[in-house]
Symmetry: C3
Subunit: 268 residues, 3 copies
């Protein structure tokens, strides 16, 4: 997938040049982390959840990212409303179904948004994606304990059912639109020891969607960037504290050329 890698570098350049505003309705744990990742990337984050300002925020945003961690029922209204505004305006929507499968509230909310809000991309771990799929079987908690195979089948089914791109992230990332599928390699196990890395990856997908209509290209590029950055950061760090500091530095400093040459994207 040399052509995908090449296109990815170009997308990174476009983000840095156009500095797209990314609207995040996300959880309390990762708001700071997500904002810092988007800034390091070169995008402009807005965190806002009050229903009274959804129209105004939507008007100035280029993409919407909905993340259901630390969910309150009162926030769901803002999420679905913001999603409707994004759809009407033709702006991309990323759904991050944090903890879907672990609680009924989150599974129901994630399924409802997946069904009625027409997300452009759904990004989650294997358990989360399985919980959203008709073939998903029983939820098994917050962490992914399902086999890669099950998750891949569920992702393809979900992608077709919802006419969306689905990304299952893990040691290897799997991205599919139901027809075309890709595997992204690299990264570092250290990603599992820092909170908000998945949520930040979803926000990064939002930033790439803001500059690229081809949703699968944008998603693959964003996740490939995360893998490259994590891999480089791991080499320069001694634990999760220094790893995350390095990751922000790498994300800020990486050139499109180095990104292109380091991205490991394969057809699946």
């Amino acid at each position: 997938m040399a052509e995908f890698a090449e296109a990815s570098g170009d997308l990174l350049e476009r983000i840095r040049k156009s500095r797209p505003v990314i609207h995040n309705i996300t959880n309390f744990v990762v708001m700071n982390t997500t904002a810092n990742v988007l800034l390091a990337l070169g995008a402009a984050p807005i965190m806002a959840h009050a229903i009274e300002e959804m129209v105004d925020i939507s008007n100035i945003s280029s993409a919407l990212v909905i993340n259901i961690g630390t969910l309150s029922t009162s926030w769901v209204k803002s999420m679905t409303y913001a999603a409707r505004l994004a759809r009407v305006a033709g702006k991309p929507l990323v759904l991050d179904p944090v903890g879907s499968g672990a609680t009924k509230l989150r599974t129901d909310t994630a399924c409802e948004i997946a069904k009625f809000s027409a997300p452009t991309v759904i990004r989650g771990n294997a358990s989360e994606i399985l919980s959203l799929s008709a073939t998903g079987g029983m939820p098994r908690g917050v962490d992914s304990v399902n086999t890669t195979e099950e998750a891949i089948t569920a992702a393809k089914t979900l992608a077709v059912e919802r006419r969306t791109v689905v990304a299952v992230t893990g040691a290897q990332d799997f991205v599919t639109d139901g027809t075309r599928s890709f595997l992204i390699s690299g990264g570092s196990p250290m990603m599992m020891s820092v909170t908000g890395t998945g949520c930040s990856a979803s926000a990064t997908v939002g930033a790439f969607l803001a500059v690229e209509k081809d949703a699968i290209l944008a998603t693959v590029s964003a996740l490939a960037l995360f893998k490259v950055v994590a891999e480089k950061a791991a080499l320069k760090s001694q634990g999760p504290g220094s790893f995350w500091v390095q990751a922000l530095d790498e994300l800020h400093n990486i050139t499109p050329k180095v990104f292109e040459n380091s991205a490991r994207i394969d057809p699946a």
Copy 2:
């Protein structure tokens, strides 16, 4: 307390092997910090406060940590409900009474949870523990300005009254169940210059309780680990920014053996 130190190393090993899910209902300031501390330690954090998902979260958690910083009255219901679920299921509960004594809302909430929710462990600074004790005298604000002696007496009284383990953390930590008492030395004054270190210590106590029934052993071990990690991190850092980065690295990397040999636990 050589045998306590030895047991502590074993508990750390058990956490890393079993990766217990720790449910935190905690304040906005420290959610990210607490999640990162639990991940660095080897546990699996969940932050959730919606009453609709308390049953599901309780079912997959091994311990509950309640922290009343940035309190809203609407959250108190979820706290007491989650505490009831933990009690019924025989799961340990840690209460962190942040700011108890500083405001009536927090003092009342902390006292109510201490009285009716049967916490396994209560961890706070001297002022907070005094505010919860019948012998507590007048609250004196957020920071601890009380003498060590007053706090120790209050902790013992509270431990007996509530049949719980009480930890008063500070330059030296004091842990008691009313009968047995311990002092933990080490640490670094730099802990006072980073937000959320106390809250993270409480969450760490939760993780140790998840793998060890003896509540005083679990509490002493968790706090001793914090002291050791802080001491090591202080040696490698130049200020509160680099201190906290180092602390996360140390917490992730420390071996049970080094922990055992470095823990300074004494009978009080």
Copy 3:
């Protein structure tokens, strides 16, 4: 402005000696960052928003900082109530109108607080200050795209209208009470790549106001400290991750003497 720089060093010393309690009603994204900045500075942060505890928190605080990022309408009541308590008690109030101009909810809220809560200082970027001024023209989103000239005129007008000190921060900071005006130089573009730097600057202004009645001196000093710290941190860092770690270290370690000698304050 050598005498201003000299006085600034003295204010820093006073903060570290008296450790003033600063009450913050601020947004979810920056709560942790703001608390860590205040701790590194030597002040004592409290984050609290429940209306039930506003009286108690006000009683133990030396300054109030209101920040309207991630605004909910339910928080506005607490903000205006806390502001009233501060005014009655003669305690300084800083208003940080995050995103004012970007949404009607935020513009209305910021204007209302500016009008009826008598802030001692209003600190924002050019767009935010313009949105609060009668001469402000049209809001243009979250980022400042207005000319320096427009913002300076708006700041002066606003300062006179509201009898307050107004600070417009950016590559150079502009501070005015409508009569006296100052420019503060230094800093680093890296400040733009970390979330919460503006919000933290506002909280730092709160800490300086807690130890100094002359609001323009306190504001200029606080912002000059931020510029000096950012400049020093940029020299020792490779990207936004390491920059922020260094900034916290520098803020904690800088001596009043070095601060005085490095501050670049000019009459405007």
